[in-house]
Symmetry: D2
Subunit: 468 residues, 4 copies
């Protein structure tokens, strides 16, 4: 169950150019991308002469209201939602990141992670650069500032040629909007149109909400530019596709098109493949809501075993749930999910989830289902065992915390208390995902990292100042 | 789709007696009952000498924190979540309602609606009673105060013998906890145990979360009393069951036991009956999430047509969504639900929902599914046409606003733009619900009201003071 | 220094009738009366058919804004500011107090203290009355409700005939405004006009701000009524004047007319009398700002010794000052007042204050002035030694805490570390105040209480419920 | 009346080094300096390895609480209070300003105004510098970053050698504290000790509150450095004193020592000189509180005309006062000041104020006093006519708005409606202030600016981004 203390997406981004209510569209798009980050939200707009900025901690609906949106003037805008990886989260690190640069303003919103940011930062500080945040994103802007190239786009290209890692980004000045995706295409980025307006977003569900037509993906290595002269695409870097397979397994919304695939159907295909690889005689297929639902439907359809919503989710559980005091705490997963009692009495249940991270949540869920009377609990996971951390924009536990990193499947099964446990194979996932072999980054399953990660991470640098 | 500007539950209640962390348990139970009211929340506890009160506007998680819970001392507590029917919602009308009464404190939390409250209030005011709120609940306390009976329980019985309508309530003094359910049993009320502690709650999902064992329903017409002398039940009024069938159709959580029935299974049975009554040749069964899911599963299982999650819900849509300005507004249901594009291309889709209220939401959903490419859209509703308002504790539109109140099914079908439309019949719902005929209130389908509603409603009385 | 942890006024009130922006005027008047209570503020208005209520914790400027005022509709309004005597302050006890009563609304705002409230409450609860607050004010409303008299005014008279203690109050219904002052006239209450509108307020400074003309005091024992039939006064109770002399010494604003006297000039006269009674050779007269300023000016003018602002007040000290941690705390009075250094070097300083309560603040001030270099510090107090608590609407320490209650002046002088200490005599204050002997309550100086206080105060009654 | 819509100080600063509760001391010092800026407050502390930052909008008491102070760890700290000159005030421009710089953190708090900031910024941006705020202060940090000098102090000197205008500043790194004052010494800066700890502050009143001993002023052109090696002073720039005379007239607290002078006594001396220059036969001298009080005392003592507190200030008027709607607005100065009625009836009143800015406030005050019955109103101003704007750290209206900039005294007198009007002469103020001729900046009186202001102010640069 990737979302429960496991894997977390770090960001969602949007860019709008050429619409009289650009900031409104950006706001709505962020609403649709809220699943990609719930900690801070921000929009920067431009009316051609100034940049207008609003950022805040919390959900999109907490950060924005009518008044704020009315003040975010102009026909260009970018936006960002963020989940931060550390406890020390604060407004200083909220995006879009805004600076004054060569007589104008420049705002940037970034989804991804630059693995050599600390090295570049050390170098830049040595040359006298001043950093205002601890975000890797800031490095890009400093590299742009150091460039002697004449245009913003060329400075962006020069900056990006020095960074390593993952980035899908949008960049706004008073004069135009730029979008860029790293050569590996780790994170998704799509382009659409709403009448004359160009819209860039992390996922197509954002386009759907604002009734923009999906045109195509921003290609790996491509840079898009849109301004008064129209929209241009540039092949800035040679593509070498390593798209994050976990976007398809868990992160992206099932109603999105991601990496030219329909997420819901890919997940169903994973469930079908799982049913073929790990068949078992049982009375019902029960998903872990909500991420396990499409795979469970696929499993049910392939196996013919009825699909049942045996675990019900409490939709009012937010990040603010207060655990009560000692004696009655440890409600954990129960606050979120409750089994339908009686109904599973004496039944053989297949529980379908997208992944197992630490194993503790899965153990509680298996236990819940047993307490609800199930005679057997068979766990089926619609991805291979997760054995490695991600360095390309996903917040993951360390390798040591990943239960499958050093234990055989049988031990995991015993730990979570299931009668049987089946993971989808690498072949199974490749088949479900389709396309050419090697187009996807599966480093967290294979330990084969497409971009090398510099060894030492001088963490002290990143905690220069702590804002409260 | 009962929840979209349609029917709304007005309250959830809980009572705990005999647990050292009573207020914590009450808080958790309210968390599980949050779907019954999202506007205000309150807990009153007692340590035997004082009542400790905390109420606030907003979700349970907004209103309470560790500090507040720590100050709600003692081993007895009651709690309440509320959805208010009018725009003028304010803290004054938040419950539990607390008064000083014969040298002690008295707190009451009420789910239901007293149809003769205004008449009783007029009479009480004429005799010199002072009202501090506009809640019908306050009438009960005044009638108790006017009673000359020696015990709190007897005063409560005397008060309840004068009111008409629906009530499931809990009442707390420094010395004990009382629970009462009206003779018709309109609203649910269950009893459980957690070790020595007695727990009363609107639904069993609240017992599940705090790991209390479900014992039985509080019977229609019954009064429970628990204090230092233990737990006693009294048959105070002769039962005449008219349990609200909409609790089973829509309001209660699917993982609850309500009216001695498993809600999930009843809803699936409704879906199965619906499939038998309104079969149609189609490619997929798609629920309106989340309330339509169990009926859709039932429909799919009975018909053999595959169940698909073709509409995806945005879980971050809260009550605070800000509609943007004129030009791009009217996103309405799109903010909440988005179809899985491509996947329904050229397909015949059966949309399953629990009810149609005004018809406007259904129309938008049918349109969304058509835009996503469906060649046919067949709407199936797991309850009969709603033709009457509720006076027993549910917030409903007026009769004039109910689309089915004065139009034949064909006109409704045309209004929502479906290829076909089928409602579950009265016989179908009775069969799905089971039990004796007449045990359920179906007034909103049949116009046959089990408790007469006094004609004139002197509204001015209820707007005596408006708090801001 | 009455205000520093010493004596505190409990309330200020206002009533407006016959002005299209009644709530705005009430709000402004409360602004002018803010010194009489800083803990909560409230306004209730009426448009003839409803009462509109807004109350909140904090200063008037925190509680109200344009939007709230716009919603407080109608041409009649009453308002209240409150300082509460206990730590457990909460919105429930904020005034105006509002109830539904005989088919209408009724709001009341009260300045004063009813010494037999607990006895009346016990009796009323015994007869079945329900109390919603712990305020003595609520008793008045219950007594009115119990009355069988036909008009609101007559019911008010009947209620007030049963209470003992102090009250200046305003009462609002949809149909009119009432004002009443107890027969002793303990607390001030004045009447003015702004064009057609009638304005009632605690002090004339409130009339000044809203440009209402001061007409006269509401007389002790008088009841005023204003409605569509105009303004009438009723001598409801025989007056027996015992006006609170501390209003003139400390509480009222110096720019107010109170008890038909100009407060600033009375205070100056006290200072002059003090100079005559306790002359001393010195270099400068320094007031404790702000309350000691008028008496110090009087002292300076009478003695010919120069007046100097030797202690400077920090105007930004609010109630929210956070004392830092252990090592550097105890800044106490230094946060509020700082001496002008150097300037007092080697000088003989006369410090003038209005009163000494516990003595601890005076001790710190004397010490501050010595540290600033003063060679002698002579303390002069513009009132007699305070030896008794107040039961008529002032929050005072207990008798035991009053330093002068059991110690001769020499001991007080030694405690505060002054070279000499002089209090104004009873004769001196009578002369400064003027008027007939016995017209003023001086119980806190003489221990001669004009209204008997029932012995036992059943405190438990008043802590029935604790709101957080 | 400088403070009423007229002149406003822009900042107060503090630095503490060598105290275990450095942030607590900084917080208290800011409390004492609150009059120098009420819009935002911030403290940055260091424990030798990190900088800890907290900033917020509002008063010191709003921005800080115990928890925040506890987290601002370490024995070094700097703090800042700010009043911003523009409507668009936001947290981004709150100080201290913090950046990452050559592998460490650097925080700076600045009082003053750099007149060539926009030119330097343009140049720096042209070389690729990125600006995160619109504050001139940021330029200093960029110039430091561009310097190749080895130590922070030397880089600061190099940066300051390029800026023109006024600065009193403190600068904190993990390793030490620096303080600097511009060669003109426009703004005050003092140094004190509390045991081993070194304290730097804008005024001595801050030292008083934290019981630090005043040692001396930081000299114009001097740089102080304190770290583990102790305290050193450097004459970095040749002093050319032009101290702001308005600090003595109005800004500084009367209990402060500023520019080696006792502010209270200087103001009294101004009042005495004013009495000599503009004698008039009258009954009382009334100050405009609070800033006019010392001069009024001086005037009274010199002239022998009694000092009276004829205008009373409402101490609860904050920045949040809400003007009510159309009909009854324009209360303006009445909300703040109210005359003592009756008392001035038929009297000849001398009103003493520190300055006249636009004249509108003075006009209202004269009118108020007349309405209170004064037969004559003579206005006396304890400074010369203000004819020029300030470019050295004071927020002033434009020259066009200054009533005295283009009108003779008689016209100003007529405008404000006084019987007579007298300003203190330049000679009078020089004499009252004392010291050498030319040691003070009197540009706002003489139009003789000691530091040239570059002509065009490219305002657009400073509004690059607007945060909401």
């Amino acid at each position: 169950m990737a979302g429960s203390g496991g894997f977390r997406e770090e960001c969602g981004i949007v860019g709008v150019w050429g619409h009289p209510e650009a900031s409104n569209l950006a706001y709505l798009a962020l609403y649709a991308l809220q699943h990609r980050g719930q900690e801070s939200a921000g929009v920067v707009s431009t009316d051609g002469s100034s940049l207008w900025v609003h950022k805040g901690m919390g959900l999109v609906s907490d950060v924005f209201d009518q008044q704020v949106l009315a003040r975010l003037r102009g026909s260009g805008a970018i936006g960002h939602v963020r989940y931060s990886t550390t406890g020390a989260t604060h407004l200083r690190n909220a995006q879009p990141f805004v600076v004054g640069h060569r007589g104008g303003g420049l705002a940037i919103a970034h989804n991804g992670n630059l693995v050599n940011a600390h090295l570049l930062r050390e170098e830049l500080e040595g040359r006298g650069s001043l950093f205002q945040s601890t975000m890797d994103t800031e490095v890009i802007v400093h590299l742009m500032a150091a460039s002697s190239r004449p245009s913003t786009r060329e400075r962006l290209v020069e900056a990006l040629s020095q960074v390593k890692g993952s980035y899908s980004l949008v960049l706004l000045t008073e004069r135009g909007l730029l979008a860029a995706r790293d050569p590996h295409g780790f994170r998704p980025l799509v382009m659409g149109r709403r009448q004359e307006a160009v819209v860039i977003a992390s996922e197509t569900c954002a386009l759907d909400l604002i009734e923009a037509e999906f045109l195509r993906e921003v290609e790996p290595g491509e840079i898009l530019e849109v301004d008064s002269r129209g929209l241009r695409g540039y092949k800035a870097f040679r593509a070498e596709k390593h798209q994050c397979v976990f976007e398809l397994i868990y992160f992206a919304r099932p109603d999105s098109q991601v990496f030219s695939r329909n997420v819901y159907q890919v997940r169903k295909a994973m469930g079908r493949a799982l049913a073929r690889e790990h068949a078992v005689d049982a009375d019902m297929v029960v998903p872990i809501p909500d991420s396990g639902v499409p795979a469970a439907i696929g499993y049910s359809q392939e196996s013919g075993i009825p699909f049942e919503l045996g675990l019900v989710r409490n939709h009012y559980v937010g990040r603010t749930f207060i655990e009560p005091r000692e004696q009655i705490r440890h409600f954990g997963v129960k606050v979120k999910l409750n089994p339908v009692r009686g109904f599973m009495e004496g039944k053989r249940v297949i529980l379908v989830d997208d992944s197992i991270v630490r194993g503790t949540t899965s153990r509680k869920l298996v236990n819940l289902v047993r307490q609800a009377g199930a005679s057997q609990v068979h766990v089926r996971i619609s991805s291979p065992p997760t054995i490695g951390s991600c360095y390309y924009g996903i917040d993951t536990p360390t390798r040591e915390e990943l239960i499958a990193s050093c234990r055989p499947v049988e031990e995991v099964r015993d730990f979570i208390g299931a009668d049987s446990l089946g993971y989808l194979s690498l072949e199974g996932i490749r088949e479900a995902v389709g396309g050419k072999a090697g187009e996807f980054c599966m480093a967290c399953f294979t330990d084969d990292y497409p971009v090398e990660v510099p060894l030492e991470k001088p963490v002290h640098q990143l905690s220069l100042f702590q804002e409260m």
